[in-house]
Symmetry: D3
Subunit: 338 residues, 6 copies
């Protein structure tokens, strides 16, 4: 409870304006929430997640499951603070975030163990995945594969929102950013020879009176795992499906080195575990299930990640949502360092 | 978040005073909570559930599990508003609710697909099931079978409450209404040749120092499934037991067409999932489990249903309880339309 | 607590799409909050204010201070529902609101007592005053005078916000809309011969190291009353200063008939009375003081009004903020009908 | 924070069933709330007030204003626990409370300083004032005068509630109990030669389109002081009006010895000070004002008192409402002992 | 909701100062929280658990799973109130608690069925287990075995906390008390021939960059079961491991009669189930799982128990954490009486 | 809402370990709360106040009342972070805080305008005033005068707490630290020729059955202003009494240059304005009154200040308490810079 609140008491550097300070992994906030369709407030997500990470320290940071202390290892991890982003003009905000991610992702690494630093973004609403993917495509010179935990598809054509809202700028929102990413060629799923991206934890209602949303999603090269599939196949089964999709199933190996973007919408959890979010959907996973699955996919080559849609105004006094998000970040960092 | 708050943005009609407006399914609120033994506040349940249903729309209402969009189909579903009900005299309130349910249940249907409209009540405390059953017995001319999700039996003899509370009127309360319903011949379980009704999710403490409560319950023709049976038999096992009791197990068919009243006390969920209720009991089901079970029993002939005991003053800022209730209503509507 | 939640149980009509239904006063929601600089959430303001008005009824609606029951009088008051407004593109939203206000303000009145209907908007963030003023200028063919209750000036030049946020669209925000209104000639204060507009309740910090903000404000023709002026002059003194500015002081009369727009930012109240708002400032008025002042200015010719910046996620479980806002609307309606 | 929660750590005795244990003042809870028209929950009021009184101890209980420590003085004060009262049948509940108050009020006192013990009731909803007055009329053999702090009149004819709620039993409710009391001859105001009772803190809306409610109230012998009268006359002015009405103004003395029932509806406070109540009305007094006024009327001969309508589910985490109520009880006890 | 709040409406006796009043099981509060490393507030835990036990009564207290009503049986169970304990000097507090537990544990029992009364402590922070173990060692004249449910090890060497906090007194804290207990010979695990103690529900981060904490823990004679072991082995598997460790596995019997201290840190539950605690860790058990496990170990010879770390300021309005704790106490009492 | 949370976005330096970084005013947190008698949680006060200061920026920081922007002026103000302080041993904590304040207060100033830097502490519980006064006595070589805003005296002899709590260490607590300070000669009030210190806002209950506490307080050289004195003399009257006591009344001048320590216990405000505190007392000042008074005493020579007892777990979702505290700090900084 003591000290200025950075993530896990990591050293704070304003990385964007301090290019001389090198790092291997940057934790950065994107206090942006003006592309949401229901409850706003995720602009306070970065602050809430940092607050909830107070009990994570390098001193007591060993992760028994991963056999590693991510805060005492080869990787220099910094808390780079927040991207300055306007809450009043999403077109400008999109540019601001794209520029920031590109700048931060292209830096030289401190350790030299990896060629480009890895980025972990604290959201903010989910639309920030679009500028993140634009930046990573630029940095790596190739499209990425996405592992997407969410109750929602987020691959909706902007036209799927009621027409009263039509506007060019409104295309960029927290339900359409993966559709835009696919369209822009940022995802390998839509590229010839590219592998599929994966949704996990879905339990959304669909548009209209049929399967059109799923068909469009499949056409864009996505594989879907529903929230209640876990009742039948368990966390092990979910892990297996993900790894199989990424060519990392047992006995396989090719494709496993594809750069992966891991995107965790906290609403993948049930509202009992994460009420502090904008578009909660009953019937989600428990935090224990999500953590178990995250540990199971540690072998993927995750070059960027986000934890999004944490809207603390809707969480309880015990801040369970932000605690879950901070734990997710910790597990991601453990995998990135491993 | 926009617009006057009806359930799922359904058209609002004051059905009781507008007999000319036909429907197939009526969603109706019963803002009644003066028959409760502990925390009051369920009178605000209908409002809370409507609020929490804001993100349900006909536009995006397709239920992949049920392969149906209940809001774009043969059935005309209306939000009929609330039954006017006094909070100061339960004898009068009981009459008001009985009259209202009878009136609404006897109307001609819009589509003609079914002969009498189906009723889905947003509670309100659980005692409203008594006037609902009285009305449905009247409408269908035969006793009903009840599928009852709850932590509690609700078949207690009124004498099971401490004697200081004795009064004729107090017999009508949220722990005794199924005892009264049985006594009045509204349930087929107590009728010769009638099939059993079913409790599921039980985890209540019992009266006295023995099994008397369970024995009385069995004598009234009820079958019981405990909350933690699910640990051993899973959601599939629970579904199977229910369907078997209703004569809808695999290979069977007779009895499956009995008119069924589905009564969901939200306290069947664990307090982590539904703290916003009057008599929470630790150790309940998750929302995902309940939804899974509800989907599993979609073949029953549900002619009336309620979702009760939502007391929003006790839920969190993220309104997880009302969200769960709104989802339950959506699943029930999906089954009714299917 | 019973019934679909309209403001004060007024009849609900979707006025925008039902031109045949006439009214004298329209209560309309503007669930818009993407022009705010700090805590969002005012999009749920209209819903919260409607909820909190539940105990206002025409049956028991007599206002002893005003000697009138605004709900049983010459004026037909409707709850026109909400303006559809996109949360993702403020340029579009501005057009949507301007069109809606213009449409609603130009209708014929039901009673004929007044020539054009009066509009009372439930906000939503304060920027909605710009489209409201554009519409009223159009309807009345002349600029208006504004009576503005707020902790903040809201006449800031958009350049007063840090440069990283610069964008054409961001000019339209909840701190600059009166600057824009003045610039566009919507306010009589900046017109030759026009009278001043008035701020009351100010206690904001200013830009830079001097009085520039106040100087600009004065140049735009505004008069300022600070929050703590009330300690010295009382509510009577505040009323007197307002009426004097509007040419309605004792013995005067000219100018009193100017069409007035009354804009109440709920943050004029102290955070103890209205924590549910986006940019709270300690040291404000009590609800009793604000109500007293509103009653004192009932003689003004108020043709439009708003109550804005109610963000219910930040209010207490007792919903004190929305209650205060609902009371303010009631007092405004009383004055409009009188 | 330590120990079983009685009021101010007073000795707990189940007085109703322990007639041998004498006292001078009984603090007793009435966990009753089924006669309310809006938000229920005052049944938890006694518990909340006891909890909030934790920091009141006899050890540190000296009241500098009153120059007395009510917990170290001639009077034996007990916490008599709660009256058993059914939440499901108001007719029975009314009898239970009447019997309990009569029993407790007729006991011999411990000290002999006063002839009959004084009763301080922790509510519970305001309707409990009716059984309290019935009991005190019985005990003292004469009608009482009431000093009533409230936002509402509570002298409404039951017919003033909409007809759908009509029932004999519903006449007994938290808006009509003083009308019933007057009708039954419990109040001296309606008796020939009897003095007026007083309302203070009023700010309610009235029925219909005129002054009928006030006229009826006056006919019943009540004097009214409005909440915002305090702006003009201050706390001193309010005190003076009360004392004048009770024949205790300066230079007068007759009538001052009439037995007085002091009834404090916590909604006399503004919702900022007491959000935890059932029918909050913006624009009320501050806690400091109420305390000041209570201290000013210490000379009255208060034989019974209540603090009602504390509904803790609606208060904040800081329990400000119950704290205010506990302080009111402390001030009343100080006056009773003095 | 009625009556002075004791645990489950048990008779309240100030046992420490009333030696004449005998009992078989004492429920006692330890409102102590000044040995915590993060969020304080567990001093209000005893009060919160008592409040949440309101719906437990002897009248309706039969536990179907255990086939017993612990409140109507051979054992006299009292609520002994709280131990007086200073919040400002932990050295003194430690002495106060040790003296109190020793005094209460040495009394003669009411029934004579057992030789010494059993103690169930409502915490308070976890450090109270040290004085409890000191007392029980004294009472039974032999070391105890501990069954410890917790997210954390609580066997840390005090030196594992950052050096700025070094102080003799600070050794006594809620992460080190089992290390101290082992050192003092209170635990049989560290005694020659003694059996192991067991942790269950672990999911903590460890010190440094390796397995040192676990190694130290093993050296102290502890067996560890992790929170997510349950995903693989289920509640049955967890029960089996515990019983095997205690020599109560199927076919075994020796060692099963060792006196056992059962210590339940409520943070063994996931923050969704128990947010009201000081050091929450995402990924814990559900309440249903914990209850199931508690029921499975009913055959152990539990002579003392605690439920600790309930900090109600962080729980929701529905008080789910305290409800879970009250249920745990009920299950422990059922096992103790059985 | 953007960026790492320092007070008012001031530059963060770990001043204790970075002696090279000079400043004129240090804002420093003391996350200490283990010397409190009731609700703990003020250890999170520094974090909460920093959070609530988010909208204070140097860009928009001009204080119209003081005619100064404290963040753009001669003084370099730093956020020095938090003092490391153990939560488990108050004797050690007292040493830690004394050392830290002494170190920080003795540094050379950046500007040279003042000889020693001024310290503003964010509490933490009130006992931190003792180490602060020890440090300032050391720095200035003379005793200080204290201006103390509080509901409580805080000059209690430790023996005034019940004897069960007796311990040397417990003497240091949040009700006795000014008694200790007086005893140690840190206050000029108890020195020959020294001027009085002043309490303002008192409304506490006293020990025993008489005026002993006040007599002791007077003997220690304190002057008292009660909370409700303001009703009679207004904020102007309160200011005048304070200035008169400090020899700064109109026409006087001597003594005005005494170094003053300004200590603001947030519980001086009414619980409606500051529920987030440990020992709330109904009947306090409004935030507006406190601010007005603080502005009135700007001429005093304040060399150190604190804002204490902010316990955010008890404030509302709108964080009104921390907002008030952040505003108090802003007013103090304005006065210090002026
Ligand atoms: Mn999502
Ligand atoms: Mn998403
Ligand atoms: Mn139930
Ligand atoms: Mn039920
Ligand atoms: Mn404002
Ligand atoms: Mn504004
Ligand atoms: Mn009232
Ligand atoms: Mn009343
Ligand atoms: Mn733990
Ligand atoms: Mn522990
Ligand atoms: Mn204080
Ligand atoms: Mn203090």
């Amino acid at each position: 409870f003591s000290g200025i609140a950075t993530f896990a008491h990591l050293k704070h550097v304003k990385c964007l304006t301090t290019p001389s300070e090198l790092y291997d992994i940057a934790v950065i906030g994107a206090p942006f929430d003006t592309a949401v369709s229901y409850r706003p407030g995720a602009r306070f997500g970065p602050r809430a997640i940092r607050h909830a990470s107070s009990r994570q320290t390098s001193f007591r940071g060993f992760n028994p499951r991963a056999n590693i202390n991510p805060y005492q290892n080869w990787a220099t991890i910094l808390d780079c603070g927040d991207i300055p982003v306007t809450p009043m003009d999403n077109a400008v905000a999109l540019k601001q975030m794209t520029a920031a991610f590109t700048e931060l992702g292209q830096r030289t690494t401190k350790s030299g163990v990896i060629s480009r630093p890895r980025l972990v973004t604290l959201g903010g609403d989910h639309s920030l995945a679009l500028p993140a993917l634009r930046a990573l495509k630029e940095v790596y010179g190739r499209p990425l594969r996405v592992l997407h935990f969410d109750a929602h598809l987020d691959t909706w054509h902007p036209g799927k929102y009621p027409s009263a809202w039509e506007s060019e700028q409104a295309h960029f929102n927290h339900g359409s950013m993966f559709w835009m990413a696919g369209n822009e060629g940022l995802l390998s799923n839509v590229t010839a020879g590219g592998g599929a991206s994966v949704h996990a934890g879905l339990r959304t209602r669909l548009s209209g009176d049929g399967w059109e949303d799923y068909e469009h999603d499949s056409e864009q090269g996505w594989v879907r795992i529903s929230a209640d599939d876990i009742d039948d196949i368990g966390t092990r089964g979910v892990i297996k499906r993900i790894l199989d999709s990424f060519g990392k199933g047992e006995g396989e190996d090719e494709g496993g080195e594809d750069p992966v973007y891991l995107s965790v919408d906290i609403d993948v959890l049930d509202p009992a575990f994460a009420p502090g979010t904008g578009t909660p959907e009953p019937g989600g996973w428990t935090t224990r299930e999500l953590i178990k699955i995250l540990r199971g996919i540690e072998g993927l080559n995750i070059v960027g990640a986000d934890v999004v849609e944490v809207a603390p105004a809707y969480q309880g006094a015990g801040e369970e949502t932000a605690l879950a998000a901070a734990q997710v970040v910790y597990e991601i960092l453990s995998s990135m360092v491993k």
